[in-house]
Structures are given as C-alpha cells and as structure tokens.
Amino acid sequence: MKSDTLTIAGRSYPSRLIVGTGKYASLPLMKQAIEASGASLVTVAVRRVDLKKGDGESILDYLDTRAVTLLPNTAGCYTADEAVRTARLAREAGLSDLIKLEVIGDEKTLFPDNEGLLQATRILVKEGFTVLPYTNDDIVVAKRLRDAGAAAVMPLAAPIGSGLGLQNAATLRLILEEIRDIPVIVDAGVGTASDAAIVMETGADGVLMNTGIAGAKDPVAMARAMRLAVEAGRLAALAGRIPKKPYATASSPGDGTLR
C-alpha cells in the first residue's frame, strides 16, 4: 500500500489521517499522540501572542516539521475578511501556502458560513494559497468550492467536537461521486475508531480530527487506534467488501457432514 498516498495540490502525504493539536493536557502528550497517529499533516491555530506571558514555550518546539507538515487553520473566524487576514498571517508565520479555511456561521454548532467561505476561498486562491475549506455536507457548495479552486473539500461528519460520527452517509456519498478531481477529506465529528473506518469505507480520501484523539482518556492509544482505523477503512474500501445479504450462507461445505 506504499503508493496509496493522499495527494493535495500535487503533493503526496503518506498518511490519510490529518490531526489537530488543540485541547491536549500538555504539549509533550500532544507530541506523543501525533507520533502515534502517524499523521503527516497537522493543523495549528493562529492566535495573538499573549503580551503578559511574552515569549512562552511554543507549540513548534513540539512539532517535528521534518516529519509533519503544518496546516494552519482560520478557526474562530466569523467573516471572510478575518479568515483571509488570518490566512495571510499564517503564511508569514509558517512560510507555507497551505491553509485549512474556516469561516464559521454559527457559534453553537460551529457550522460553516458557506457564502463567506466561498468568498475567502476565491480571494486566497488568487493569492496562491492551497485552500482546504471546512464545510458541511452540501454538494452544491462542494462543487462551488472546487470550481473556485479549492485544493480539497472538507465536509463535516458531525458538528466539531461532537464525536457523533458520520451522521449522513447519503450526502457524503453524493459528494464523493461528484467531486472526483480533488480530495474529499471528512473534517470534524469523528469520535472513535469505527467512525474513522466508516468514513474511509464510504470513499473519503482522508479524515481530519482533533477532539476525538485529544479528548480521549488515553490520547496516545486513541491516536494509534485512529491511525489503524483509517488504514483499515481505506484498505476495506479498496478490497471490495461482500454484499449484504438478508440470509445466511454457510462458510463450511454443505456436504460431506456426518449423518
């Protein structure tokens, strides 16, 4: 399976699992969990430096940027303008064009504002960014994001941090059938290993998660579970599962039994 990599904007990443860096009890724990996850893309947020604290320890001290590629996000932005400015700052800070674009439209559900998301995508694509937009399972929006030059579309499985798992396989399938030229990466809502496997079996090109790992009692073990589940789900999708049948079919020969 060496060759089965996730390719975004012409660049290949060995793992189809993308993990976040938020909500860990400590940075060392985060470091361990990320290593256990085997992720090659790791999201970070952009925030104002706390002037009182001044030059504290940086998350970058705990991320081996030779092993992982940073994927800055625009989490917390509620307008296209905030998201665009945040993306530009992220590029300066990270010296890379990758951006996980979030334009949030509702505080309680963190659902995307797809109108703002499309605006910001168009601007950032023009500025040469590799835009990975977080959106909901809306095929019309997915097509527009693609047409606007997004490098991938990232529909949610369920609300961010909810851990509900894939809530609507039907709409995800429709998006996967339609969006074939760029990756479809399911972003948010995955709560446990089987959720990740289901997403990959459905045909997603990758999964992005943070809370599901960071919030587990043992984040390192869950990170490893997610790594294996993503690989398992991907393999199963490629292997071609048996059809579902209402009845039983024996796995042992029907004849030659004692009588």
Partner: protein
C-alpha cells in the same frame, strides 16, 4: 506613541520599526507574524517598516488547534 497592539492600548517608542516593537515587548521575531493596519508585514521587512501613531498592530503565533 500609542498603538493598538493585539486589541489593547500600548505605548511604543516613536518611529519604532516592527522589529523594535517586538524587542520592546521581548518577542523574538522568529516565530511570530505581524499585521500593521490590516496588512501583513513580510518578515524581511520587520527592520524597514515603521509603525505610526495609532496603528493597529497584530502579533500572532501558532498555537494548538484543530
């Protein structure tokens, strides 16, 4: 002079460059990104760009996030 640094009133030396400002607040320029008046400042320009009275300055860095 007074600037709005990360949303808060801040006293900066008149005519300070971005780099100078960062030094006064004890921040190594290596890992931060700076926006002045809504425009991102490229790191190479930290020594050149001067901050003006009342400028809105944002100094950001990467933190954990998903």
């Amino acid at each position: 002079m007074r600037v709005l640094l990360n949303g808060k009133e801040h006293e900066a030396p008149a005519g300070a460059t971005v780099l100078a400002l960062l030094e006064t607040i004890g921040l190594p320029p290596g890992r931060v990104a700076v926006e002045v008046g809504g425009c991102v400042i490229r790191r190479d320009d930290f020594t050149r760009v001067e901050i003006k009275e009342g400028d809105r300055v944002e100094v950001v860095q990467f933190v954990g996030g998903g």
